[in-house]
C-alpha cells in the first residue's frame, strides 16, 4: 500500500501540489487526471523520486519512505516515461537486463532469461536484438514497461501512456495494464484521456492548477 500524506511541492515560490493526500491499495489502479499544468507529472515525479517534496510523508506498507534518496535495495517504484527514455545505444534485451545486472547483481544468464520472459510476455519476443531506433512507438513503450518490470517494482507509474499512440494501440496498453493488475501490480497512471481512465481505474484523482 502506498500512502501520501500532506504532500506539498513548490517550484520556487509557486506551489504546484498543496497538501495532497492519497492512498492506493495493493493491486489497484489509480488514474490521475486533470487539465494541463495541474501538476500530474509533478506528482508522479515526486512519487518516483525525481523531485524532492517540500513537506509531507510518503509511506509504503506503513513505513516511511523517501524515494528521492532511495538507497536501500528494495525495488519499490518503477516508471514508464512519456518519452520512454530508452537507452539508444543498447539493444532491447540490454535495455531490460542492464539494471537487474548492475543494481540487483544478477548474473548474466538469470538476467537474460528473465528479460526474455518479460519480452515474450509483452509480445516483443523477436525484438530482443533490435535497437530502440528500429522500433515503433508502441514497441518502445512496451520495452519501457519491460525494463521497469525487470526491477520487480511494487508500484508501476506511467506518464501519459496513451498520448503518443494511435487508437488501436491504446487498447493494447489497456490490456497490458489490466494483465499486470491480475498479477497484483499496483499501478498509477497519469492521463489526459478521461475515457481511458474510466475504463481501467479503480480510483481517479483529479488535480487542477492552483491559483498562485
Amino acid at each position: 500500500m502506498l500512502e501520501l500524506q500532506q504532500i506539498t511541492k513548490k517550484f520556487g515560490e509557486r506551489t504546484i501540489l498543496d497538501h495532497v493526500d492519497l492512498t492506493i491499495e495493493d493491486g489497484k489502479i489509480l488514474c490521475i487526471v486533470g487539465q494541463s499544468g495541474g501538476g500530474k507529472t509533478t506528482l508522479l515525479r515526486c512519487i518516483s523520486g525525481l523531485e524532492q517534496i517540500d513537506s509531507g510523508k510518503i509511506l509504503v506498507n506503513g513505513k516511511e519512505f523517501d524515494p528521492y534518496v532511495n538507497s536501500n535495495n528494495e525495488a519499490v517504484i518503477g516508471v514508464v516515461f512519456q518519452e520512454y527514455n530508452l537507452f539508444p545505444h543498447l539493444t532491447v534485451l540490454e535495455n531490460v537486463m542492464l539494471a537487474p545486472q548492475m543494481v540487483l547483481k544478477k548474473d548474466k544468464e538469470t538476467a537474460t532469461r528473465e528479460a526474455n520472459e518479460l519480452l515474450k510476455k509483452l509480445a516483443l519476443g523477436d525484438k530482443g536484438n533490435l535497437y530502440p531506433w528500429q522500433l515503433s512507438g508502441g514497441q518502445k513503450q512496451r520495452v519501457a514497461i519491460a525494463r521497469a518490470l525487470a526491477m520487480k517494482p511494487q508500484i508501476l507509474c506511467y506518464d501519459e501512456p496513451t498520448s503518443a499512440l494511435d487508437p488501436g494501440l491504446r487498447d493494447t496498453v489497456k490490456e497490458i495494464i489490466l494483465d499486470l493488475k491480475k498479477e497484483k501490480m499496483t499501478q498509477i497512471i497519469v492521463t489526459h484521456d478521461i475515457e481511458f481512465a474510466k475504463e481501467i481505474a479503480d480510483d481517479i484523482l483529479k488535480v487542477k492548477p492552483l491559483s498562485n
Binding site: 518516483s48 523520486g49 525525481l50 532511495n70 535495495n73 525495488a75 517504484i77 518503477g78 516508471v79 516515461f81 518519452e83 527514455n85 530508452l86 537507452f87 539508444p88 545505444h89 542492464l98 539494471a99 548492475m102 543494481v103 535497437y131 530502440p132 531506433w133 525494463r147 521497469a148 526491477m151
Partner: protein, 215 residues
Amino acid sequence: MDYILEIMPSLFSGMGVTLSIFFWTLVGSLPLGLIVALGMISPFKILQKILGIYVWLMRGTPLLLQLIFVFYGLPLLGTGIVLPRYEAALVAFILNYTAYFAEIFRGGLQSIDKGQYESAKVLRLNYWQTIRKIIAPQVMKIVIPSIGNEVINLVKDSSLVYVIGLGDLLRAGNVATSRDVTLVPLILVSLMYLLMTAFFTYVLKKIEQHYSYWK
C-alpha cells in the same frame, strides 16, 4: 637513394619521439578531459569556476608559450620545479589538450537528454554506473569527430617540442637539411607526417563506424 637510407635512422628516431609525445598526451589528456568535463557540469560552483579559468587559460594562450613556460618559466619562478625536456613537453601538452578535450566532452555531456539520467535514476543505477553504462557511450559517439580533429592536430602540434630542444621528427629533418644542404630530409619528414595523419584519420574513421550501429 643511399642518402635517404643514411638519414632514415635519425628520422625514425625523431618519429619515435613524436609518437611517444603523441601517445602519452592522449593517454593523459583524454581521461583527464572527461574528469574535468564532469567537474564543469557538477553542481559545485567553485569547482566550475576554477575549471573554467583553467580551460580559458589553456585555450586562450598559445601552446608554444605554455611549453616554454613549463620548461623555462617554472624554474625561474623559484618553485624548485625543474623538469627535463621530455617531461616538460608532456606536462605542457597534457595540460593543454586536457582543456580542449574537456570542452568537447562538456558539450557532449550537455547534449545528452536529461531523460537518460532520469531513467537511470529510477532504475537505481548509481552515479558511476550511469556515467559508465549510459552516458559515456552516448557522449563518445557525439564527440568522436571533434576528438578526431584534435588528435590530428596533436600529431602536428607535437613538432612544437622543437623549441625546447627535443629531438622529434621535425628537428631530425631540419638538422639533416642544414647539415647536408638538401631539401630531401624535409620532404621525407613531410611524407612521414602525412603518413601518420592518414593513419590516424583511418583509425578514427573506423572508431566512428563502430558507433554507427545506433542512432
